[in-house]
């Protein structure tokens, strides 16, 4: 019965994040897609662009439209997902919110609470600083209570999700020191988007391992904001992203220095994780000695978290795996959507 379904729009649906949103929304039992936009694909059938979706009853007959606000609003969406580049998203978020559409923005535009930090990291003034306070940071494991009533959600970045899920519980409990946190993250290539750059060509990335973007990747601002909130004190970390020859997946390895005695460290880590994620269906705790593997999470909304203790050097090593397009983007946004709409958190997201 389509009448009960939630009318939904996807703005900017021809990139990898848009494609992942469509893949999941196409089979989401509570969603009716009413508007799917793409500047460059406007007028074409969804399935002619995404052959993979051919055969999904809910996208049959659906065509991309131009990203015109009036046309979008006319289609009657209750919720709009924005899968647009940062800087562009605000041009859609503001008018859609004004016209009563709830917005889930997957760009970086509204993730930071400080316009100054945005300007420092993104290199230009924030386009709508007044809205920064309205957006809920859509990491449901931490903002589950704010999401049901949220009109505006800023869905987290892919790297921040992989860093925050293992670290936040430990910072909240004071289990690790605030200084000296070093993060090495490995990302699949879809994380760079569908950009036609030489550096993203198959023959450049395949059989190549390289770091990039350090020491001041834009996502660092978002990580430090949420880590500082968890710690109740300012946290500055070192973050090095790497580009890996896989389509999807982020593996994060975090080096940190524990507070207190090592004898019960693993127990304290486990208890903090359990307290934080006991009710969270998408965080899977691997325990001490568990190494997360991206192949277990790609195309899902799960984050796997494990840890090992280096007693010789006095370090705790955390390991997390997620799908950069899934829990790091599309499916996490749908998890927020579910909570915003009173649906079970896992609705449409239990894929394996």
């Amino acid at each position: 019965m389509n009448s009960e379904k939630i009318k939904t729009a996807v703005i900017g649906a021809s990139g990898y994040t848009g494609q992942e949103l469509l893949r999941l929304l196409a089979m989401h039992p509570a969603v009716e897609l009413v508007a799917v936009t793409s500047r460059q694909e406007a007028g074409r059938d969804l399935v002619s662009v995404f052959q993979r979706l051919a055969g999904a009853p809910s996208v049959e007959g659906l065509a991309f439209i131009s990203p015109d606000i009036d046309a979008i609003v006319e289609a009657g969406p209750k919720v709009a997902f924005l899968a647009l580049p940062h800087g562009v998203a605000s041009e859609y978020a503001i008018p859609l919110l004004e016209r009563g559409v709830r917005v889930i923005d997957l760009s970086a535009d509204f993730r930071l609470r400080s316009a100054a930090v945005y300007e420092e990291f993104y290199g230009h003034a924030h386009p709508a600083p007044a809205l920064l306070d309205e957006a809920v940071y859509g990491l449901p494991e931490f903002y589950r209570d704010e999401l049901p009533s949220a009109k505006f959600v800023a869905s987290p970045g892919c790297y921040p999700t992989g860093v925050l899920v293992p670290l936040v519980p430990l910072l909240k409990k004071g289990i690790v020191k605030l200084r000296g946190i070093n993060v090495s993250s490995l990302s699949g290539v879809s994380g760079a988007g569908k950009k036609t750059e030489v550096s993203l060509l198959f023959a450049e990335v395949n059989e190549s391992l390289r770091a990039y973007g350090a020491p001041k990747h834009r996502h660092l601002s978002e990580m430090e904001q949420e880590l500082s909130l968890a710690a109740g004190s300012e946290v500055t970390i070192t973050f090095v992203p790497h580009l890996m020859p896989v389509n999807a997946g982020i593996l994060t390895t975090i080096f940190c220095e524990p507070e207190g005695d090592f004898s019960d460290l693993s127990g304290r880590v486990g208890a903090a994780m359990e307290e934080c994620y006991g009710e969270s269906p998408f965080v899977r705790i691997l325990g001490e000695g568990g190494f997360a593997d991206t192949k277990n999470v790609v195309r899902t909304n799960f984050v796997d978290v494990g840890w090992v203790i280096d007693r010789r050097a006095g370090r705790l090593i955390l390991s997390s795996a997620e799908d950069n397009l899934g829990k790091g983007a599309g499916s996490q946004a749908i998890q927020s959507f579910n909570l915003m709409n009173g649906l079970p958190e896992t609705c449409g997201l239990l894929n394996f």
Copy 2:
């Protein structure tokens, strides 16, 4: 004129390291291969096992023989490369040395100076502790003076090479603190050897990113030994290796805390590198902002080294790339061979 060439044996030549040695020795202008052993391929022509080598004049007609000491010695080698598993290498190193053959051992058996550390990390007593003092650690950039007269060389491990090359110059100069060094290394699959284990099957490794072996990988012992020697004081580090879906290459990212002022840090790092590697043809310094990429070094003997400075968090990040089978194993052993035999260091190794 074969009469001037150096008669050379390769013991244990059917694995990936042996194959890389053969690939390079086959075209080395000063080498005559006189014995190539493999327990499982004995009797077969080299080219029937390694089709890739078909057409190399120097391996035409050569067959694998059984690894029998008498048979090897009878072939008259001046130098023998051992590409055997640790624990097994000493069974060949000792008798070959006794019979006057210079030995370059690519296993871990003689890299450590302490039998106790060997036992701690390898889980069994050292098979020939008396020989530990005789072996020169075959990292030519650091032991260039000892190699010409060496009878016995313990060629370094793949991970240690990628960690030591960037760090040793800085520790020698006191540029980084001894505590809190965190290392994330990413290795291609050939580093695990030609083992028929489920975890190394294509369908398990491809599209997968995962850490393993932490917190006490065996190579850690070797890294800490050489780092401590460079620092003149005991150094304990945290090391996390990762298995990556590429055939070859190791990318190493090192987080460390600088000593002294940040204003001239990059200059001090550069000067230390220059002082250490100014005469080293195989270390290529990328400078500040340079991110090493394994695709520039695979199938070569080069190590590329770059660094970035994280002023916000007070960290120096070093980046190195090497080929685990090349500078991390086979070609590095040949670099030692060249020095042992009075040949130009680059002889047979300038491949691009």
Copy 3:
């Protein structure tokens, strides 16, 4: 309501086909898993072996059991999937059928109608020739009418599915000549199973393209049986499989010589496809000029089919893509399961 669900067993569930069956059955709305066997994993929780499935309500608490017929039957399954090697499957199929369990066998044991052809291609006498007539060939697009009442289904091989789907409609209509059909198929590595062989190691397969198994791959027998049935006359084809560095997917390119005039050839091909697959939700016709791409079908039950016409050389080229573990194995078996149990053909299989 579990009481309405169909109690289901999976025999031999630790290989790649078993894993794919579990992945799909875990979320199948009409299935209750009551027995999952694995000789080597017996006693272990499913999720401890397959971390990817952790979080699926229906596998929570389920453990592998030994493949003991009594234990399996005791669990009360109405249907058992056999994901066993050929030769072994019959040892389970016969007693399970005798005890009233409907069997879907994914091995090659009961796909051929002739015990003599089985012996010719598999190199040993057929273990249960009397049962050959009872098994329905589980390619639902061709045997949709026989499946609802079938007690015993022989699910097709991966290569045969990719060859039969494009060719059968044309042979039925006499659109292509019976002689001179040449097939080149490219398969992902999971098609070779989870075997610990050197040739399947990552470092052997990655960056490698090679043919194998020609001219008499075992699947040829199965293809020719069904092609001959479609043509009403004996068809002998040439088939060359290739091993490709992807996890999953089979791309098949078929060269054949058309009968009759070229002017309306594409129309006749399209009409034959439409007549054959108009009611088939899992065959997606790309039309003339459409090149199938495995990335659009992996992890789904779809087969994409396109064609081009080479007027210069007088040839019709067919192209099909499927997932070797999906439509070529696990999901196709579940498609048969759905039909056997009066469920919608797409039940549990509309994943994108």
Copy 4:
């Protein structure tokens, strides 16, 4: 002694073919690079663009220059390699030839003897039909006698090399029928060049298998020209190229129908190969049952050739492997260069 070396230019050196030429010419003992051009990289050091080449004595200090004819000629090259797109190459070939520079053109501009066929396949009139007769087709195995005196060489395409090497000897001897030759070729992505197109991005190609370009790929014209010359009669074939997720390598599988008796077919095939390639150091015959594998030939100038006989269906299946950038482009051009300059055919090309 640089004075004896052959002054050499590479025009259009920033693409993949140019890069491969530079990689090989940098270590070629008889070559002095005097001019290396790139419109987009003009002014930059070679090693700043190709970090992989850093450390090669012969490229140290060399910078890209603009592709200006006067500047090139002034540098004094005896030979110029053109690694330019088709259509552009003739703009350089003509003036360079006029000014006495021998030209090896790696584009498609002068491979065809017929301007009409060029126009049919390339869609525009040939830019310099008068020169078509002057160019020698630079497949040294077939034109070894013409190359020493050639002023102008049209180096073959990558696909044609892989098709011609196995087929020409058989057509010359009348061993296979001229009708019904079907070719399936699988190419690594570098074959498509360094083009910034969505379809060549890592995330589009990785884990994807697809055909393209059939039924009338441009290289077909070149194949048929040379096959017809070998057969002494017009040959029309069917050719289907596929894009594979590897960096380099072409695997070609050829289906053909033998003439005469099958009993001595393999012997006749072997004899024809031996007669044709007995003196050819770069063609390695694998014999009956030998399946060529691209991993044995990438980064070399070798072509491996094997075959199997399908007695059931009456077909001979040929298999060849080459590197599309090597024997299919750069190293083959250097093989011609060697013959043009009286050097050993293998000079600078025996890499493994």
